[in-house]
């Protein structure tokens, strides 16, 4: 992260959290903003019985991980220092490296590593609580960027 006062960081987390809790599907998945930096975001999602994709193992469905990655990517874009006012996912590719351990919270970290006037490029990783086992999934995405109209 770049030079940053803790006050500014706290303000960004509050703003991001407000943003996330206004999104019905993020509420339905109990997503929580963990941190927000300049063009970076981390959001967590607790394990829930509703989200299980394989009833024999209790492993969360890949689709729920997609929703978390997508949200975190969007949050990273909106927190970019060039201050976009809106974003939408254009393309998101997810690689599933391993099954997430049942009953563990999944946390996604996204970095908006490049922006043009109208496109933002994002990388993201999702971990369960066994961080030493490496990510559960990684993602790459392109997001649309809407900027405040220049005068």
């Amino acid at each position: 992260m770049t030079d940053d006062t803790s006050e500014a960081a706290a303000k960004r987390i509050r703003a991001a959290h407000q943003f996330i809790s206004a999104l019905p599907h993020c509420r339905a998945l109990s997503m929580t903003v963990e941190s927000v930096g300049e063009g970076e975001a981390a959001i967590s999602m607790p394990w829930a019985a509703d989200l299980v994709g394989d009833p024999l193992t209790g492993v969360i469905h890949g689709g729920a991980v997609s929703a978390l990655m997508d949200t975190t990517g969007g949050a990273a874009v909106l927190s970019h220092p060039t201050a976009p006012i809106a974003t939408a996912t254009m393309d998101l590719r997810i690689d599933y490296m391993r099954a997430a351990t049942p009953h563990q919270t999944i946390t996604a970290r996204a970095v908006c590593h490049h922006v043009t006037r109208s496109v933002a490029f994002v990388r993201a990783e999702a971990f369960d609580e066994d961080t030493d086992k490496g990510p559960v999934a990684v993602a790459n995405g392109a997001f649309t960027l809407e900027r405040a109209r220049a005068k």
Partner: protein, 170 residues
């Protein structure tokens, strides 16, 4: 000559096998996805609910919901095609088909979603095409639409690891 099976017997067998495949998966229920069946062709139906909204300003479906819907449709269509031959040849007993009795579900290796337009706050439909379905790996393309079949709101391609099959006779 063999008499053809009565139509209700055929339907009952196929529908109960399909139910067995879907019913046990909590996440499919959570998103309220059902499947329409015409012969062996499946169409996924995502029933609209306000909790599926990602952007309340538009409002639009959450991109993650769209991805999940397409992924569920891909996995169910893939599993269904795996089951079909055994089911029709009478090697699978459709009654009481539960997840304990069924082969394991395919695992997603990667999934790439192309968002073409915002998902509107109403039902969505999806159909998957198996571009390659081998013993070990499968490649599946899925198309999602809402009002017009020709105007897709999203499409996706994914690769899947097939479950190791056990000989149904052995």
């Amino acid at each position: 000559m063999k008499t053809p099976e009565p139509v209700q017997v055929v339907k009952q067998r196929r529908d109960s096998a399909l139910r067995g495949l879907i019913d046990g998966v909590p996440y499919i229920k959570f998103l309220n996805i059902t499947f329409d069946r015409r012969g062996d062709e499946l169409t996924g139906v995502l029933h609209y609910d306000p909790k599926l909204i990602g952007n309340p300003a538009l409002p639009a479906l959450h991109g993650g919901v769209t991805a999940a819907f397409l992924e569920v449709t891909a996995i169910v269509t893939l599993s269904w095609s795996m089951l079909w031959d055994d089911l029709e040849a009478g090697r699978l007993e459709p009654e009481g088909l539960t997840h304990d009795a069924l082969p394991r579900l395919p695992k997603t290796i990667d999934f790439s979603v192309d968002y073409l337009r915002a998902g509107l706050p109403r039902d969505a439909y999806a159909r998957a095409r198996l571009n390659r379905s081998g013993r070990r790996y499968a490649s599946v393309h899925v198309e999602g639409w809402q009002d017009n079949r020709e105007r897709l709101f999203a499409q996706a391609t994914g690769h899947f690891l097939m479950p190791q099959r056990t000989d149904p006779d052995g």
